[in-house]
């Protein structure tokens, strides 16, 4: 029976239900709004609060010598930074309780560790007191950094700075190069930067307020890539020895510059490329600007008589002469436009080809070169690598200058045969002697053995393809003739190495300035040992010496270096005597 009381009860009930549903509806709408409509942006905002990408650093690759000795190393250095706006006195808890450390005290403590005065340290703080960041010290080592960190000064922070150090100092400093503020500046650091450079990665994961990674959160990371290791063909200990010997002699004779190159004949690897003066990459500022690179690669000069073996080998290969060819050598040789003479005045002499080499007769070489056309002689020199950069491709390497045969005047036609009127670098001369010692097969000169990437793969290995420039017999005969320089020449007692047969050629070149030959000389000695089974070629060049202006300046250094090379690499001594070749007739 519907009484009035039950009607009102039902009405109130209905009202309550409607009210409840209304409230639920509000909540439901809100819920859908948050969970469905704005879900994406809200969750990404939340994640971006918790997960911030961090940079993970890769390390730059090392440069090592052929035995794995590190020549260039990547190291950690630290910058001590300050937040000037937070600088204030602070309390430190010590064994005696809380101690208040004033700013001056704190700076004095820091200064004691880093070796700076308090004034130096207050300068960055006072320069911009509202700034958030300033440098107190840059590039300190780990022990200094840890000591400063242990002071626990709340307004002092730190930054990692990747640096480069060269543990062996000036050894191979001309080759390794160095890094400046903008990146690599010279040498292998510059040339092989692609292999050596590292790439940074990022690491993103969710972390709590104290920086600890929230377990179960995903880590997205791009891995940092370390740089690869460059292996050079240089032997550090030999390079040191050669640099010492070269510097000693260059200073003794008052030279302007000097170079020494040691090549392994069998594969064209450069064991040593020494320059003087040279640079210590740890201390670039104290070196002269001209010493920052490698003169052996970058500075061509007129080589002089060290080109004569190349001429003779070419003529032998062409078949126009033989080692025993007899010629009469006058004291003066005239051509259109000039005359050529020897380094000593003489009447007609009767030399064989071997005699021309042993006595280093310019006139004799000129007479012999008449047997072959200029173009053919020019092409031989090109095949030997003159006028073209070596396969090393060093930073700033020069190709030298070598005119086309069509541009040769009557004098140049003869002078290029004995290394004047053409310029070459020390490494080009070394390559020439490598060819002669290798049975006429020219191998590409190699400085970089390879780039070992972080994942273990080895790239940039040099090619070992050789070219036969002259026949084996032509090269061997030339080497045999060069032996007479050591056994019978005027520098015999300086160049002889007991127990070994050594083939060498001296060179005393005139230096042109503004088209006129001056009184300066560039002297060199280039040689191959052992002559019966050539293993190593050494070229020593001394530029503009003051006291000794003949190749006698370079000869003792050549002997010293070649002896060390033969001793170091345990080269088997020669057990057959040199065959005698007629020098005169």
């Amino acid at each position: 029976m519907n009484t009035s009381s039950s009607r009102s009860t039902r009405a109130r009930l209905a009202l309550t239900i409607i009210a409840v549903f209304a409230v639920v509806a509000v909540f439901a709408i809100r819920l859908i709004d948050i969970q469905v409509v704005r879900a994406g942006e809200l969750s990404s905002a939340a994640v971006s609060n918790r997960s911030i990408p961090l940079t993970t650093y890769g390390t730059r690759g090392e440069i090592v010598d052929t035995n794995g000795v590190v020549l260039a190393d990547s190291v950690d250095r630290f910058d001590i930074t300050v937040s000037p706006r937070d600088v204030a006195d602070f309390d430190r808890t010590t064994d005696d309780g809380k101690v208040t450390i004033t700013v001056a005290d704190a700076l004095a403590e820091i200064g004691e560790i880093t070796g700076q005065s308090v004034d130096e340290l207050t300068t960055p703080i006072e320069a911009d007191p509202d700034a958030n960041f300033g440098y107190l010290t840059k590039g300190v080592k780990l022990d200094v950094f840890l000591a400063v960190k242990n002071l626990n000064i709340p307004w002092v922070f730190d930054d990692l700075r990747a640096s480069r150090t060269y543990p062996n100092g000036a050894i191979a400093g001309n080759l390794v190069g160095f890094i400046g503020t903008d990146g690599p500046q010279a040498g292998i650091e510059l040339k092989e930067d692609e292999c050596l450079a590292s790439t940074n990665g990022t690491s993103t994961y969710e972390r709590g307020a104290d920086g600890v990674r929230i377990p179960g959160s995903t880590v997205t990371a791009t891995e940092p890539k370390d740089g690869g290791t460059i292996t050079l063909t240089i032997d550090r200990d030999l390079q040191w020895f050669v640099q010492e010997a070269l510097e000693k002699q260059a200073v003794a004779v008052g030279a302007e510059w000097a170079t020494a190159v040691v090549v392994r004949i069998s594969d064209g690897h450069l064991m040593t490329v020494a320059d003087w003066p040279t640079v210590d990459p740890n201390d670039v500022n104290s070196a002269d600007v001209s010493a920052l690179g490698s003169r052996a690669f970058s500075t061509p000069y007129e080589p002089g008589s060290t080109f004569k073996p190349m001429t003779v080998a070419s003529l032998l290969d062409a078949g126009t002469i033989a080692p025993t060819t007899k010629i009469t050598v006058p004291g003066l040789y005239t051509v259109d436009g000039g005359s050529i003479s020897d380094s000593w005045a003489h009447d007609d002499l009767r030399f064989t080809t071997a005699g021309v080499i042993m006595n280093s007769s310019n006139v004799g070489i000129s007479i012999l070169s008449e047997t072959l056309s200029a173009q053919a002689r020019h092409d031989y020199m090109v095949k030997f690598g003159i006028g073209e950069r070596t396969a090393v491709g060093f930073s700033g390497e020069s190709a030298g200058s070598f005119k086309d045969a069509a541009d040769w005047d009557a004098i140049t036609d003869k002078t290029v045969m004995f290394g004047q009127g053409v310029s070459a670098t020390s490494v080009q001369v070394a390559s020439l002697f490598q060819t002669l010692g290798n049975g006429g097969v020219k191998l590409p000169l190699t400085l970089v053995e390879g780039c070992t990437n972080a994942d273990g793969t080895v790239t940039e290995t040099p090619s070992a393809e050789g070219t036969q420039v002259v026949s084996e017999s032509a090269a061997d005969d030339t080497v045999r003739m060069m032996e007479t320089v050591v056994t019978d020449g005027w520098l015999s007692n300086v160049l002889t190495i007991p127990g070994y047969r050594v083939a060498a050629k001296t060179g005393t070149a005139e230096v042109p300035e503004n088209g006129v030959y001056t009184g300066e000389r560039i002297v060199s000695v280039a040689g191959i040992a052992p002559a019966d089974d050539p293993q190593y070629a050494v070229v020593v060049t001394i530029g503009k010496p003051d006291t000794i202006k003949t190749s006698g300046a370079a000869a003792p250094t050549f002997q010293e270096i070649m002896t060390q090379v033969l001793k170091k690499y345990r080269v088997v001594p020669s057990n057959t005597p040199a065959p005698s070749i007629p020098l005169t007739w």
Partner: protein
């Protein structure tokens, strides 16, 4: 007497005899049937369910604590690894400088070593000695021409005096090298000069151990 006629016993107050409502009209007792009793939910099952639920919550709490603990441990170990890697880098840097040829040469010179002679004698496979053997002259080659600015003023090994045996000294010096991280690159280990008597060598024979 029996009859086949149904007859009702006399009722009092309209109720059958023996009815509890007749004895106590206010007392009402509801008794469930057997089926109802069997269908009633058991207490044990409820307790197990609730207990399990609580156990799960407890286990989840403990696991969560262990996980967070692990996360902190990972964080601290990663920090430790980074610090140790830095120490290793610093030490290998010092080692590289100490092993540089300039350092070795100057130390060797300080110890009184001289450069070997230019010529050398070789013992061939055929037992013949080739080459000329020359005694080293007392002249040392001048070293120090090739600069290494990292070495500046480092004390040379020959200055330190050590009297301990070699094996134990090696352990001490490695420990010492880890602790002392000085700013200048120094040759890390002090010189090891064994003070035990050296066995005199017999000329022409290799020294060999005495066996019994």
């Amino acid at each position: 007497m029996s009859t086949n006629l149904a007859y009702a016993l006399p009722e009092r107050n309209g109720r059958p005899l023996g009815d509890p409502r007749q004895e106590n009209p206010r007392r009402i007792e509801i008794v469930s049937t057997r089926e109802q009793r069997r269908a009633r939910p058991r207490l044990a099952y409820a307790l197990i369910a609730i207990g399990g639920l609580l156990g799960i919550f407890l286990a989840q709490l403990l696991l969560s604590i262990a996980l967070s603990n692990g996360a902190y441990q990972i964080s601290s170990l990663l920090g430790e690894r980074r610090d140790l890697a830095r120490v290793e880098g610093s030490l290998s840097e010092q080692l590289g400088v100490a092993g540089s040829t300039q350092n070795l040469a100057s130390n060797a010179q300080k110890l009184g070593m001289v450069q070997g002679p230019s010529s050398a004698a070789y013992l061939g496979l055929d037992g013949q000695v080739s080459g000329v053997a020359v005694a080293a002259d007392g002249v040392t080659a001048s070293s120090g021409l090739i600069a290494n600015s990292l070495l500046g003023g480092a004390p040379l090994v020959a200055d330190a005096t050590v009297t301990e045996e070699l094996p134990s000294n090696a352990a001490v010096s490695t420990e010492g090298a880890v602790v002392t991280e000085t700013d200048t690159a120094e040759a890390s280990a002090p010189a090891v000069a064994s003070t035990t008597e050296s066995v005199p060598s017999t000329a022409g024979a290799l020294p060999s151990p005495v066996t019994h």
